[in-house]
């Protein structure tokens, strides 16, 4: 007889795999990528190719340097970081800057802290923030209008090589007129490539919820808290929902397993915290958008949130009877 396999129980498995989960997230981002290409042109694909390949190469190179196995490039996690990063950029960003952002996200934020599962903040958000502080104009002052819709004509600045307009959140801050709700919903307005089409993002989010890759707790509490506060402050919640990066960040970045709490109560605290910080930045800070800061701050608090909200064990005093 051949040698028998001896392992601890259980001896059967659900079939779930990390790779499949990551692949599902990639699939869920494809509608947003298509919408971005539709509204901002094929340069979207160029930038995406740059960030995704930079992310994979950076993962491979850094792991080779650290003498670790490089098979991790096949788990799709670097692909997600590259994709999310690209979708968070303005379409006019120079390719080398986009690739640099992806490399920083993977090498500094992910691999230096121990690779998959060990990063303490979301790599894509951290990569974007590093770029924002390094190249503030390219990342937050140059906004290309969409190819279609009323915003396409609303050109406010024209220089020799770039055409820029204002994002709806910036317009909102100035009290200027906004694109229609429908245009905001389908994505025909200026903004980061992947954040504008709420329709495409919701299709992807629905897929992730259906596949049970994400739980709705964080997105619902995050978006709900943000909208509640801006409504109380007298602003239009629909505009706040459909402009800026609230939807893409709430569904695709705040739900990042590694950097968000695993338990229900912790997720509620995390989502509400993200929502409060986002709303406060949007309402009171000099920046028009605050989702990235909100998520990264809550990422840092995650271990503490998790410890403080540890669920009561079955039958433990103070728990549910």
């Amino acid at each position: 007889m051949n040698k028998l396999t001896v392992t601890a129980s259980p001896h059967i498995h659900s079939g779930a795999s990390t790779r499949r989960i990551m692949l599902d997230v990639v699939i869920a981002l494809i509608p947003a990528l298509i919408a971005a290409t539709f509204f901002f042109g094929t340069r979207v694909l160029l930038l995406t190719a740059a960030t995704v390949s930079a992310a994979i190469l950076a993962e491979m190179a850094s792991r080779m340097v650290m003498k670790r196995d490089t098979d991790t490039i096949y788990d799709f996690s670097a692909v997600i970081t590259g994709l999310l990063l690209a979708l968070s950029f303005p379409v006019s960003l120079p390719v080398w800057q986009a690739a640099l952002g992806a490399a920083i996200a993977i090498v500094v934020i992910k691999q230096m802290f121990g690779g998959l599962g060990q990063n303490f903040v979301n790599p894509a958000i951290a990569g974007r923030l590093v770029l924002m502080f390094s190249f503030p104009v390219a990342l937050s002052a140059v906004w290309t209008p969409p190819l279609f819709g009323s915003a396409a004509d609303a050109i406010t600045t024209a220089t020799s090589d770039v055409v820029t307009t204002a994002t709806p959140l910036a317009l909102l801050a100035e009290g200027a007129p906004l694109p229609s709700y429908w245009e905001l919903f389908i994505g025909a307005h200026a903004g980061s490539m992947g954040e504008t089409s709420i329709l495409a993002l919701l299709i992807g989010a629905a897929y992730l919820l259906w596949r049970r890759v994400i739980s709705p707790v964080i997105p619902v509490t995050f978006i709900g808290t943000t909208l509640l506060i801006v409504t109380l402050a007298g602003e239009d919640p629909l505009v706040h929902l459909m402009t800026g990066a609230l939807v893409i960040v709430a569904f695709f970045m705040a739900t990042d397993y590694v950097t968000a709490p695993m338990n229900f109560k912790g997720r509620v605290v995390f989502g509400v915290g993200c929502g409060i910080i986002t709303a406060l930045i949007r309402l009171f800070a000099a920046l028009p958008e605050g989702v990235s800061f909100a998520v990264i701050l809550m990422n840092i608090l995650t271990p503490h949130i998790e410890t403080l909200t540890q669920p009561k064990a079955f039958g433990q005093k103070g728990g549910k009877d």
Binding site: N2, Y257, M262
Partner: protein, 445 residues
């Protein structure tokens, strides 16, 4: 549809796993396996003190004769399942890595009943508990806790409900189901007797709804006996692990066993459904627990079966009786695929607690690969005890008993739901056992 004599579960527990059922052997009637040439009986087939052999090498032994016993309260005697000669008494390695003595008996081919077998005489509760102990009955659903200890309700503790565990939530296993289909009268009569002798007024039989025939049959017998005011079948959802003690108490009675507590704390005693039938048989005949129903299944076995095998029969003998292997098995598991123990070879004997032998091919089982934890939280969602398995793993590795205590590591019942769901395929149960060990050692200091 609810008939008389049955009702639905009161509560559903949180978490658990949607395991596949694989109850392919359900309609295979049990076959009595003849005595094998030799049997091996480890002196520990229960939780508690190991037994000391009461026979010597060379002794002639007969079916049902006591061959190992202990003075300890938490223990249960071990009996010769076949007649023959004691060939050897030597060390035996249990699957949890502890060595105990084991008695090897060579069959004389006669299966002669021991002349000391007598029907127990029972006049009061003390007689009854003595008889339960003498029957050698332990929790044959897996844990092996001596039944007489459970039924010995302390002064001042009120137990009002006897819960009979017929959930059989583990995939593949159909031995309890066959017990019900072939032995329903013994089950009902056994329940009635336990209630009578211990003074427990009510009984609830928990069975998952993927066994509708068993539920209907028992309900019918209850009604036929006019017992529906005192005994009821509770139809449970088919979800793993309804057969876990605390989950079953919660589902059938609506009561929550406190953390670190026992069913006694909420007025419940739980006995396995096959155990009840064995006990009833013992009270009628005086023949102790020497044979039991075992499901033999898995893709590698030529003839999947339900067998009534002498305890101590080697897995290899059982496999041979079932026509050998179709293909080489990758894993042999004693018990269910969620909680059973993988065996090193076919020489391992069937113990009182084993209710199945699974000969699994590599495509129906899996080996943990220990990819990095991505903190997806599936283990946290799956844990029926509401623990955080991946956190317990982390502090087990860090050898941190304080955090393990805070995380209630010792409450883990090793049901395996977390590892079943883990996309990184980490051997979480192994780490959880390590965590429990670290916590226990710190408490001992």
């Amino acid at each position: 549809m609810l008939m008389r004599g049955m009702r639905k579960a009161i509560h559903k527990f949180r978490g658990g796993a949607h395991v596949p059922h694989h109850k392919d052997t359900a309609e295979l009637e049990s076959v009595r396996m003849p005595a094998p040439a030799t049997v091996v009986l480890p002196m520990q087939q229960h939780i508690g003190a190991p037994c000391t052999p009461t026979v010597k090498v060379g002794d002639q032994v007969f079916v049902g004769q006591v061959i190992g016993d202990s003075d300890a309260f938490v223990s249960a005697p071990i009996h010769a399942p076949i007649s023959g000669t004691v060939k050897a008494i030597g060390p035996f390695l249990l699957s949890r890595g502890v060595s105990v003595e084991a008695i090897h008996i060579e069959s004389d081919g006669q299966e002669t009943l021991w002349e000391g077998i007598t029907k127990p005489e029972i006049n009061n509760k003390a007689d009854f508990l003595k008889a339960v102990r003498a029957s050698g009955l332990v929790g044959i659903g897996g844990a092996g806790f001596p039944t007489h200890v459970k039924l010995n309700i302390r002064e001042g503790v009120t137990v009002d409900t006897l819960v009979i565990n017929g959930a059989e939530c583990e995939p593949y296993i159909t031995s309890d189901y066959r017990e019900v289909m072939e032995n329903a009268d013994h089950i009902i009569n056994g329940i009635r007797r336990v209630m009578e002798y211990t003074g427990i007024p009510n009984a609830l039989i928990g069975i998952e709804n993927n066994k509708p025939k068993a539920i209907a049959l028992l309900a019918e017998k209850i009604v036929a006996g006019g017992l529906e005011d005192r005994i009821q079948v509770v139809e449970l959802p088919s979800h793993y692990p309804y057969g876990a003690e605390k989950m079953l108490v919660y589902a059938t009675t609506g009561r929550t066993v406190p953390l670190g507590g026992l069913p006694h704390d909420v007025g419940v005693v739980m006995v396995n459904i096959s155990g009840i039938a064995i006990l009833d048989d013992y009270l009628d005949t005086g023949i102790p627990l020497i044979r039991k129903r075992v499901t033999v299944a898995g893709k590698a076995i030529a003839r999947p079966s339900n067998l009534i095998v002498p305890i101590g029969t080697s897995i290899q003998d059982v496999v041979d009786f079932c026509g050998g292997y179709n293909v080489e098995p990758d894993k042999i598991v004693a018990g269910g695929p969620m909680m059973g123990a993988a065996k090193y070879d076919g020489a391992a004997p069937i113990k009182k607690q084993d209710n199945s032998i699974l000969c699994m091919t590599s495509d129906e089982t899996f080996a943990p690969i220990d990819e990095p934890c991505i903190r997806c939280g599936r283990c946290v969602d799956a844990c029926p005890m509401s623990l955080m398995p991946t956190m317990i793993e982390r502090y087990a590795r860090l050898d941190n008993p304080e955090m393990l205590k805070k995380l209630n590591a010792s409450a883990c019942m090793e049901c395996g739901s977390c590892a079943f769901e883990c996309p990184a395929r980490r051997p979480l149960v192994q780490y959880l056992r390590q965590g429990k060990q670290v916590e226990r050692k710190a408490v001992a200091k």
